[in-house]
């Protein structure tokens, strides 16, 4: 960055002026709320009521039980699986998408963005219908003769997984898109002139050259699905209720804000450290 009045250090108050208002807004309405949440997580809960200011680790203590350990483990595992599926499907899909004509790409992108604007409630309802016995896809299979009689596939683990992947898929594709659309087509062609079949070239070159994007895609899908809280209730059974469901439960049904906040923070720390670990491993491999 080299220019007269861009890219230099701001000196005067006037130089700083534009940043004051946004910084203030973010500070007051994001940093402070976050801080309050952190504070509340150390408060004591008043049964039936709310909380009172004390300093206690009880909320974190309650969380450190086998039960919540299982819930957390399940949530992380589910999100990891969903992330792998999203990227596993989304990567080849995005690659193929970027090879289409620009017009078709735009159509696809508009479609994906519209899908992305569906709320969790609607997606949950639609999939529970699609996977139901009475109105679902299994009727199609029966009509085609692949199935004896319609089956119910929801609620259940598979239904939940499908719903989660459905929600995260557009985000994953949009994240992978820039990298893949910028990927030099000649890389694949070069591999082919050197004797790699198209499939071989895809795995040795496209995948290899997009390692970082794949990693970010995994992280995004992971963090994103970790935050999903309605689908497990709509498409899953109680054993599939994730940590986000528990947090929402505490806030919505139990009015136990301190415990909810403690869980939320714990969840954030765990996912951030997993993300950090993944990045670290990725970097090591790339180096």
């Amino acid at each position: 960055m080299r220019s007269p009045d861009t890219g230099r250090t701001p000196r005067t108050l006037a130089d700083h002026a534009p940043v004051i208002y946004p910084a203030l807004m973010l500070l007051v309405f994001f940093v402070v709320p976050f801080g309050i949440m952190v504070t509340i997580s150390f408060f004591e809960r008043v049964p039936g009521g709310f909380y009172q200011p004390t300093f206690t680790f009880d909320n974190y203590g309650r969380f450190l039980s086998a039960f919540f350990g299982n819930v957390l483990g399940f949530s992380l595992g589910l999100s990891a699986l969903a992330a792998v599926i999203c990227v596993g499907l989304g990567f080849p899909f995005t690659y193929l998408l970027t090879r289409l004509t620009r017009r078709r790409q735009i159509l696809w992108l508009v479609f994906l963005l519209s899908v992305l604007s569906l709320s969790e409630v609607i997606v949950g309802f639609a999939w529970s219908t699609l996977l139901s016995r009475s109105a679902g896809l299994s009727n199609l299979l029966v009509a085609v003769g692949l199935l004896e009689q319609p089956e119910s596939w929801s609620p259940g683990f598979a239904a939940l997984l499908v719903g989660m992947c459905y929600l995260a898929f557009p985000y994953t594709v949009l994240l992978l898109y820039p990298t893949l659309v910028r990927l030099d087509r000649e890389l694949v062609e070069a591999a082919m002139t050197m004797g790699a079949s198209p499939l071989r070239a895809f795995f040795t070159v496209v995948v290899g050259a997009s390692r970082n994007a794949i990693l970010s895609g995994l992280i995004l899908a992971f963090v994103f699905t970790l935050g999903i809280y309605l689908l497990p209730q709509l498409l899953g059974r109680p054993q599939h209720w994730t940590i986000s469901v528990m947090i929402t439960d505490q806030a919505i049904f139990q009015s136990n804000l301190p415990f909810g906040a403690a869980m939320a923070l714990f969840l954030m720390l765990v996912s951030l450290s997993l993300v950090g670990l993944t990045l670290l491993l990725g970097r090591r491999r790339a180096a």
Partner: protein
């Protein structure tokens, strides 16, 4: 007659329930008192309580008068959420059965019975030609993956149901060991449960389509659905339906205390209670002898089989512990 500038906001459960109130009750009330009413759809009691509480702290009232189930009524007391009601302004209160006058421990009135309802055993008539007769049927082998049950301890009353069905009464719920034993029995039910629902609509939809052909549900709403022609029936099991009720309570953030009293008093009249029974399908909260309901009309909304009475005190006393045990039982 008074005329308020703003409508009185009355919270009732959404869906069929709210629609029936809008159609049969509120217009008459406005006509009689000149007070405009705006109905507000409430979610499940617990969620609504949290909403009311948060709003009250901010000095706001999403609804002035709220229909609250008993457990949230008790929870609300602990933060003085409910405005104490003035008996002098409620002349019709005398009509009520005594269990429907709800008070703070110190005797101040904080809730007046609005409606009573039963949670019964419902089934899809297309799937089950024969109506089930006992809560125990839920445990049957052949009911694998067919049930829809409420997901919260505090609104499903499954502990009471299990105790009555398998332990000869609710005495066993007096101790933590007893509760755990009941939960153990309840755990045997899990393979049969397809859906643990938090929200009525989710189960209602599944029940109507036969996707989940059996479960516990509200007698009144099931009746309304059946009346609309859905293949749904509600049965009072031989152990009795769960008799729960909703009370009118006024949030302390309300600025329309006067109008609220007028409304609550209006709702305590026998004619109105009868109208509720006929049109909404709820059981009355006033003495039977004051009502002009026929025997047939009465049995449509209630039953002569002695009901299972929810153990509200247990929920109030063992709140967090019970909730944790419950969630661990059903999710594991």
């Amino acid at each position: 007659k008074t005329r308020a500038a703003e409508p009185l906001k009355v919270g009732v459960y959404g869906g069929y329930f709210q629609e029936s109130f809008d159609k049969f009750i509120f217009p008459d009330f406005t006509a009689a008192t000149g007070i405009e009413v705006e109905s507000v759809a409430e979610p499940t009691g617990e969620a609504w309580l949290v909403q009311l509480e948060q709003a009250a702290r901010a000095g706001r009232a999403p609804a002035d008068v709220n229909m609250m189930a008993q457990t949230p009524m008790l929870k609300g007391q602990s933060t003085e959420l409910w405005v104490p009601l003035d008996p002098a302004k409620l002349p019709h209160m005398e009509n009520l059965l005594e269990q429907f006058v709800h008070t703070y421990p110190d005797g101040r009135i904080d809730g007046i019975g609005a409606v009573a309802w039963y949670i019964t055993l419902v089934s899809n008539t297309d799937v089950f030609a024969e109506a089930p007769t006992s809560w125990a049927d839920m445990w049957a082998e052949d009911k694998r993956d067919t049930l829809g049950l409420l997901a919260l301890a505090t609104n499903s009353f499954l502990l009471e149901i299990t105790a009555e069905t398998h332990f000869g009464g609710q005495d066993i719920l007096g101790s933590e060991e007893g509760i755990l034993e009941v939960l153990g029995k309840l755990a045997e039910l899990k393979p049969n449960v397809k859906l643990w629902y938090r929200d009525e609509g989710q189960f209602q939809q599944a029940l109507q389509t036969g996707e989940i052909p059996m479960g516990q549900y509200y007698h009144d709403v099931a009746g309304l659905a059946a009346a609309e022609g859905f293949p749904v029936r509600s049965t009072f099991p031989k152990e009795g339906g769960v008799n729960d009720s909703g009370s009118w309570a006024v949030t302390r953030a309300s600025t329309m205390i006067e109008e609220a009293h007028v409304f609550i008093d209006y709702m305590c009249q026998p004619e109105i209670q009868a109208s509720l029974s006929r049109n909404v399908g709820t059981a009355p909260t006033v003495r039977r002898d004051l009502l002009d309901l026929t025997e047939e009309e009465f049995s449509a909304v209630a039953s002569d089989i002695p009901p299972i009475v929810p153990n509200y005190q247990m929920y109030a006393e063992r709140g967090d512990w019970l909730e944790q045990q419950w969630i661990e039982t059903i999710t594991s």
